[in-house]
Every structure is written in structure tokens, then in C-alpha cells.
């Protein structure tokens, strides 16, 4: 049991960091995994090319919500280019639990949403594997 839902993960799930919305976000996006119903919404404020503030709301499994919470901690203050280039593995490492292919989709939902938000808001590149042509995104 212990390696599945570690304290750190459960802590982020129960007490999500940076939860909420921003009044005037520079970047925003929704991510949704219709297969399991996980959802996140991200607002990002960019100042001097860096992520000045980031907020999220969402609902879904512990993995998706905790991962998004950890992500917001991780990218706070980062240059947007660096945040947009963050690899999935960074989040998976952060979660620190074994994940099946199916759960990886939950884990990276927030990251994908961030990449889409930055792409739309400040034009960072969006690698094709994150390519979303509508609001109904499926990562993977």
C-alpha cells in the first residue's frame, strides 16, 4: 500500500497548493481526460518571461490532482520556455510512485494543460504529442 499513495501525494491531494483562479491570467487552458473524467483548469500570470503566479482548479483522481498541485510548485518562478519544455518524467519523479501507462495519463494531465496554456498565451512551442485542437484534450 505504502508505495502507492505516499504521504506526500496524499498531502498534495488533500491540501492542493496554488488552488484557485487568477483575476487576469495571461495564459489559461482546460485539460480533460474523457476516459476517466479527470479535469484541470490552469491560470498563469507571466511577468518578464517567467511564471509569476499559477492557480488551478479541477477534479479527478488523487494522482491527477496531486500531480497538478506538485506541478504548480515546480514551475513557480520558472522561465516560460523552461516550463513549456518540462518533460513528463519530471512529474512522474515528483509523484514518486509506480505508475501504469494508464495512470501516467492522469499524472501528466496538468503538465499537458500547462503546455497548452503557455502555447496559447505566450506562444511557446507545443510538441505534437500534446497537440490539442479543441478543448477536449486527451493526453497520450
Amino acid at each position: 500500500m505504502d508505495d502507492l499513495y505516499r504521504e506526500n501525494l496524499m498531502d498534495h491531494y488533500r491540501h492542493p497548493r496554488n488552488h484557485g483562479t487568477l483575476e487576469h491570467p495571461d495564459c489559461e487552458a482546460e485539460g480533460k481526460n474523457p476516459l476517466c473524467g479527470d479535469e484541470v483548469e490552469l491560470d498563469v500570470e507571466v511577468v518578464d518571461g517567467r511564471i509569476n503566479a499559477i492557480r488551478f482548479t479541477g477534479n479527478g483522481c488523487a494522482v491527477s490532482q496531486a500531480a497538478t498541485s506538485m506541478l504548480t510548485d515546480l514551475v513557480q518562478g520558472l522561465p516560460v520556455a523552461e516550463a513549456a519544455a518540462l518533460p513528463s518524467q519530471a512529474i512522474i519523479d515528483e509523484l514518486g510512485i509506480p505508475l501504469s501507462a494508464m495512470r501516467v495519463k492522469c499524472a501528466v494531465l496538468g503538465l499537458g494543460t500547462l503546455k497548452v496554456a503557455l502555447h496559447r498565451g505566450v506562444g511557446t512551442p507545443l510538441p505534437p504529442e500534446w497537440g490539442a485542437d479543441d478543448d477536449e484534450m486527451v493526453w497520450g
Binding site: M1, L4, Y5, M10, R14, P34, L35, C36, G37, D38, N59, G60, C61, A62, V63, S64, R103, C106
Partner: protein
């Protein structure tokens, strides 16, 4: 089929026939509660297939030689077994497909395309698995027919009060309905729908993926026009399914896929079709899987489909009672065991179904979490996802107990 009083089945003895139950997951005995998704396989079925491959394997309908004759006989004997199982009037009405999905697509893309057009109405329900929903969307779009869905109440019971209004919208051509919801276990009132469809002159397509595996299904008593099911849910291999259809309709319908086996004669400019059922079986069929399906049917009939039905009913009643003990757990679908098969969907406070399924897996308990290929139904009932436990002839009360213990642990881990 068994006689009047179904012999009670002993799931513990049955389990001994299924090699997978020797499997351990995370150091514990496997608890498999996902048979609505796919069934486990008895050794006898595996032996039949391997035995076939090891002694008689040859392509069917072609070889003059002994192996080819044996393999053709084995393949066609499987068709006879299916015809018997569902009480088909004729073996010519039994078409082998890959699965339920292909069977339903076959109907939509042949009979459907030939019979539907603007002004016509296709009727389905919000209960349906995507396999009995999306093909009708595509058909409606391709032909200009109108597609109407019967609604359910908040517990998933099909509502028939819109039938009159629907009948006024145009010529009802096709009524496509499930024999049992794979998500909720509810059984819609098929007889009433069939009566109504007959009055409209409509064809009835019955998705029996969830019922052929576990109770006597009789196409003549049901009085439907098409019926589909999957081998993999009936103890048989993947890669084989069945479409049963009325001979009079199939005979006058153009083929679906074309190629070898389904032709009578081919010239560069003109081709004529084989007779039924082969007209609808293009290319080398899944003949070894048919042998496996035959062995699976033999196994089911030896246990008795009435006995399986009774067992599932008893297990479901037990499960509903025990699930009731779990604080915060809500059954999705009808709360009673009466109107349902061996499938129970539930949610637990606001713990996400994926988390529940993942934590249960650590207890070696296999359940499904998600929309169960019924997104419109989930939307109608207001759930993004549910947890689903489903039962079969090998399910024991001890497994249900393991599920309940697991659910208590879910509550502990998730702090609810």
C-alpha cells in the same frame, strides 16, 4: 439448458477449472470482479483450441485432404453449437464476427444502410454501450435518418413514455437496444419494446453481449431480428463474436466485407455471392477461436445456464447487501437485485473511481473504473466515472468479502 430446477452450482469447484485462479497479485489470491468486461477461460476451452491447432489445423472450406475436412467440420460444428445455444431456427443465420461491435456494425452498414433514409427513424437508448450507439449515429448521419434515444430514470430504468411521440416522427426502421446494461446491470423491458417495434414494422437489434454468457437466451422467444454477442465474455477466446440474424433478412441483404469464402464465382467484371451464412464471412475466419467457442458453450451448458443465472443473482444480492455496509458508498443503478444481472456500479464519497480501483488492485481485487464505454449514460446519471464489480459463474462470496475489506482500506488510505 438444464431442466426445471436449476442445479445449484459450486463456484469453488468451478474455479478449479480456470487456471488463472492460481495467479497471485501482490502476493494475494486473485479476485476477479471484471467479467462484464471479459471472462476468464476454463482449461477445457484452452485444451480444445490447442488440441485443434496440434492435430487438425488447416484452412476451412477449401481442403480436400483429411485435415481440411476435420477443420471445416470443427468450424461448422461450432456454428451448430451457437445455433443450439440461442435456439436459432437455422444454422444459416449464425454469422461469425470478431466481436459484438463488428456484429452490430455489420447490421448498421448493410441492413441499416439499405433500409434507412430521410424521414426514417432509428431508436436506441441512453443505456447503450458505445458499440450499440455510435454505429447508429454514423448510420443516421450517412442516410439522413433521425436517431432518437429512449431515456432512463435516475436509477437507469428505461422509460418507454416517449414511444408514441417517436412513432409520429417518421417510419421507425430499427430499434437497437441492450439486453442488459453493462454498466448498471439493469435489464430493459425488451418484450415491450419488441411489441412496439413490431407494430411499427421496425427491426429489432438486440445487444446480448451481457446476457448470452450467463442465462438462457432464445432468439425465437425474444422475437428479435438480430442478436449479437462476444466470445470473450462467454468463456471463449478473443477474436470471435456472433451475429445472429433472420434468414429472410440476411438472404436479401448485400454482403458486408468481400473477398474469399463469401463468393460464389468471381470474374473481372462481375461477382456473385455465396449462400448464407458464408456470404457474410469474408476471408479466413477465426476457425480455431470457433473451436474454442464451441468448447466454452459445452462448458456453459454442462454447468447449466439456469444455474449460472441463479448463481449470479444470489451473488449480486449478497454483494448489494455487503456494499451497503460501506460508509459513503452509493449504488449507481437500481438498488435491488431483482431487475438486474451480475453487475454492480457504485461510487464512494468523493474518492475518484480510479483511486478506488488502484487501491483495490493492491488487494488483488480487479474492478473496472471509468465510464464503461457508456459515456451518455454516465452523463445522464451525473457521474464522470463509477467503479464496477461484475460477477460470473466462478465468483464466490469470499471474493465479495475481499472487495468489502478492500473498500474499507480505500477509505482509510484516502482519509474519508
Amino acid at each position: 439448458m438444464t431442466g426445471a430446477t436449476p442445479q445449484e452450482l459450486d463456484p469453488t469447484r468451478i474455479r478449479a477449472d480456470f487456471p488463472i485462479f492460481a495467479r497471485q497479485v501482490h502476493g494475494q489470491d486473485l479476485v476477479y470482479l471484471d467479467s462484464a468486461s471479459t471472462s476468464q477461460k476454463p482449461q477445457a476451452m484452452l485444451d480444445a483450441m490447442v488440441g485443434f491447432y496440434s492435430t487438425s489445423n488447416a484452412n476451412v472450406h477449401r481442403g480436400v485432404y483429411t485435415l481440411g475436412v476435420e477443420s471445416t467440420d470443427a468450424y461448422e460444428a461450432a456454428r451448430d453449437a451457437v445455433a443450439r445455444l440461442i435456439n436459432a431456427p437455422s444454422r444459416r443465420e449464425v454469422v461469425f464476427t470478431r466481436n459484438t461491435t463488428e456484429a452490430l456494425n455489420l447490421v448498421a452498414k448493410t441492413v441499416g444502410v439499405e433500409r434507412c433514409g430521410p424521414g426514417d427513424v432509428i431508436v436506441s437508448t441512453v443505456l447503450e454501450h458505445h458499440a450499440n450507439l455510435v454505429p447508429w449515429q454514423v448510420l443516421a448521419q450517412a442516410t439522413g435518418a433521425t436517431l432518437r434515444f429512449l431515456d432512463v430514470d435516475d436509477e437507469g430504468r428505461l422509460q418507454l413514455d416517449e414511444l408514441d411521440a417517436i412513432a409520429r416522427e417518421g417510419n421507425v426502421r430499427i430499434v437497437a437496444v441492450t439486453h442488459q446494461s453493462n454498466t448498471l446491470g439493469v435489464r430493459p423491458p425488451v418484450e415491450e419494446l419488441v411489441r412496439w417495434a413490431r407494430a411499427q414494422g421496425a427491426l429489432v437489434v438486440l445487444d446480448a453481449a451481457q446476457t448470452v454468457p450467463n442465462r438462457p437466451v432464445d432468439v425465437q422467444a425474444l422475437d428479435v431480428d438480430f442478436l449479437a454477442f462476444s466470445g470473450h465474455k462467454t468463456l471463449a477466446p478473443t477474436g470471435i463474436g456472433v451475429l445472429w440474424g433472420r434468414e429472410a433478412i440476411l438472404a436479401e441483404t448485400q454482403p458486408f466485407l468481400t473477398g474469399g469464402e463469401m463468393i460464389r464465382s468471381v470474374a473481372l467484371d462481375r461477382t456473385s455471392w455465396n449462400t448464407l451464412p458464408w456470404k457474410f464471412e469474408a476471408g479466413t475466419p477465426a476457425f480455431a477461436e470457433a473451436v474454442g467457442l464451441h468448447a466454452a458453450i459445452d462448458y456453459l451448458e454442462a454447468v447449466g445456464l439456469d444455474a449460472i443465472d441463479a448463481h449470479e443473482h444470489a451473488i449480486t444480492e449478497y454483494a448489494l447487501g455487503r456494499l451497503d455496509e460501506v460508509t459513503g458508498l452509493r449504488i449507481v443503478g437500481p438498488p435491488d437485485a431483482a431487475a438486474r444481472g451480475g453487475v454492480v456500479s457504485f461510487v464512494l464519497d468523493d474518492v475518484h473511481p480510479h483511486d478506488i480501483a488502484e487501491i483495490l488492485d493492491r488487494h488483488a481485487v480487479c474492478v473496472r473504473a471509468g465510464h464503461h464505454c457508456t459515456q451518455p449514460l454516465m452523463q445522464r446519471l451525473g457521474h464522470a466515472a463509477t467503479v464496477r464489480a461484475s460477477f460470473y459463474l466462478y465468483t464466490t462470496t469470499a471474493e465479495i468479502d475481499r472487495l468489502i475489506d478492500g473498500l474499507h482500506d480505500v477509505r482509510r488510505v484516502m482519509g474519508v
